[in-house]
Symmetry: C2
Subunit: 411 residues, 2 copies
Amino acid sequence: MQVDLLCIGNELLSGLVENTNAGYISRRLWSKGIPVREQRVVSDSVSAIVKALKESLSCSEAVICTGGLGPTDDDLTREAVSEALQRPLLLDQGWLRRLERFFEGRGNPMPAANRKQALVVEGSRLLPNPLGTAPAAIVPAGKRLVILLPGPPREMRPLFEKEILPFLAARGFRASWRTKVVRTVGCGESLLEEKIKKVGLPEGVLFSPLAGGGEVLLQLRTAAADPAAAALLDEAARRLREHLGEYIYGENEETLAKTVAGLFTKRGLTLALAESCSGGLLADALTDIPGSSLFFKGSLVTYGNEAKEKLLGVPAELLKSEGAVSKAVALAMARGARRALSASVGAAITGIAGPESDSSGSPVGLVYTALCGPAGESCRRTLLPGSRRAVKERSVQTTLAALWRMMRSAV
Amino acid sequence: MQVDLLCIGNELLSGLVENTNAGYISRRLWSKGIPVREQRVVSDSVSAIVKALKESLSCSEAVICTGGLGPTDDDLTREAVSEALQRPLLLDQGWLRRLERFFEGRGNPMPAANRKQALVVEGSRLLPNPLGTAPAAIVPAGKRLVILLPGPPREMRPLFEKEILPFLAARGFRASWRTKVVRTVGCGESLLEEKIKKVGLPEGVLFSPLAGGGEVLLQLRTAAADPAAAALLDEAARRLREHLGEYIYGENEETLAKTVAGLFTKRGLTLALAESCSGGLLADALTDIPGSSLFFKGSLVTYGNEAKEKLLGVPAELLKSEGAVSKAVALAMARGARRALSASVGAAITGIAGPESDSSGSPVGLVYTALCGPAGESCRRTLLPGSRRAVKERSVQTTLAALWRMMRSAV
């Protein structure tokens, strides 16, 4: 049994609003072993929605729609479902009263436009939506299902978690597979694939590699019907760790930043950063992790030479003789951050993010990342060309990988 | 003439990778007045890709595909296009040599799997891809077009900008509309809509408001065929500025961060930050802007109290008596950053990002943002509940709005 997603809205097709709903719903369904056959985004047009709905209902057991449930003229999902299923729209008195109370609670009379939100497709089961006025609903269509959710993620997500996931489970959407993601860094996609083929995985375990952001994720998968599915996945992960352990930093939702954070916290060590070309992005990544204050002391985002001298104690002569983008300065920055924030480990990033080079004439994408800690120092020179943002992201990734390598061996 | 987007990859359907390509391409096409009819995401399956391709080619003049051009077994876009168009795959000797050189340049022999990347659909025009090995291509399909782009955004985006946009323009994809986005902050969506209706826009100019991230964007639109289209949009924007100027910070791609950066640069002033709960995100946003080194001195990401004392000179007694999340500490942080980095203006953010409150028992989402500059000081208390990431983003947005207000009046 599989699901289609249908996201409705001109603002998605114009790219003015980032469509985070498709990714969110897909990720949650996948984690439950429920396959998403297709994601689709169509305009605020009855005919476009009807066409997509009919196609999806002919392929998948359920279609989850988001958007188009608001009060304005371009909110047409209700009308489209009514037409696709050939079922009338009825005024739901209960929902109308709920709407009126919703506005009363905010001290305003209900605008006339909102009355439309009490129109529901015959046979719908309305879902409580404490955060808004959109009539989220489950609409049976023969043996299949149309599920209507509001577009704003803050309304959609709680409804999906509280209402839709349990409902799908009760309706027999069972896991089609079991899955495990093994996360690697430091080995290219095709080389890694070659190595895995040599190692060999247990029979019944499929894998697919996924490269991006300087990492390769390995998706392992078994049929859920296999009684040994979980054990097979564990065995596959064990084999990979045994033969390719030097590249494997985590599983499933453990990002490289989370893994690094976990290692610091577990060992009771602290980290201080000095960031030049990454401009605070590494600090941002680490502070996204709840509890990061346990190990993260802070970051000195020193964009100019003056700040590097004043806050990190990088000698002016060194900046002059070696240039701000150099091994010597990267190491001096790491030492300076460690000292200034009294941390166990200091890490530094200095490079040329572009779009133009600096006065030294070094190429855009040249980045030095340095670490210093109780067990010594290291510095790496990398050349990561790309947009300004790409250089920032890759320099952060490179530093996290270096921190991971340092932390998993004795510091 | 309209375009369909087809994004290919199991990693998108499983939600493991955020699909940023659909939004990016849509946004860029929309800004050129080229409508996107539909976005679609299908799995790494030849039959699914073929079906979607055929449907799209029957509706739109061009289909832009992303993903599935890599070297691994699940990269099947080439094969699917070959089948959909009934045209053979041929080995391109030039691309093969290019691949071999690509790997030589990195000091590795080419893995056998990559040879597959030199297979191209007969009649394709290959596009230079300096950042990767994927054979991006334009494949004419009768009077229609199939455009193949790599999945990784850092490869896809430059190709789209340098090759695809100029090519579409040359092939007669002309603007169906002209558009201007007027960007506002500080006034809610429905109130703003009321005010605009009172002001009145020139005949032939449509507008739609779009709220998100603490801002409201106003999309203004005229038919491209109207010879006075550009002048009408300018007149509409002029009227809005005249009556609602206090909320309008920019147009089109001018984000709030860019506007603030522009004001600092123009006035020859400099900025220093002290970030606690935002964890470097404001520094990250500002350093994404090329040339930010002209005004941005740096940020002191001081996550703990110790760092606030040592680096920013926030008195220990103040931290104790008021708590780290307080007006007094926010102001002391702003002053400290300004002093430590010898900047014209200091800005500070301190708050509770969650997911749990701190020992003070203040609610998650409580944030103080402070500014200090030549013209004096200010501090704002806001309560912005939401996820950890949402609190970070909203606190950055609040600070940028405050900086904008300060900078557009005399500092």
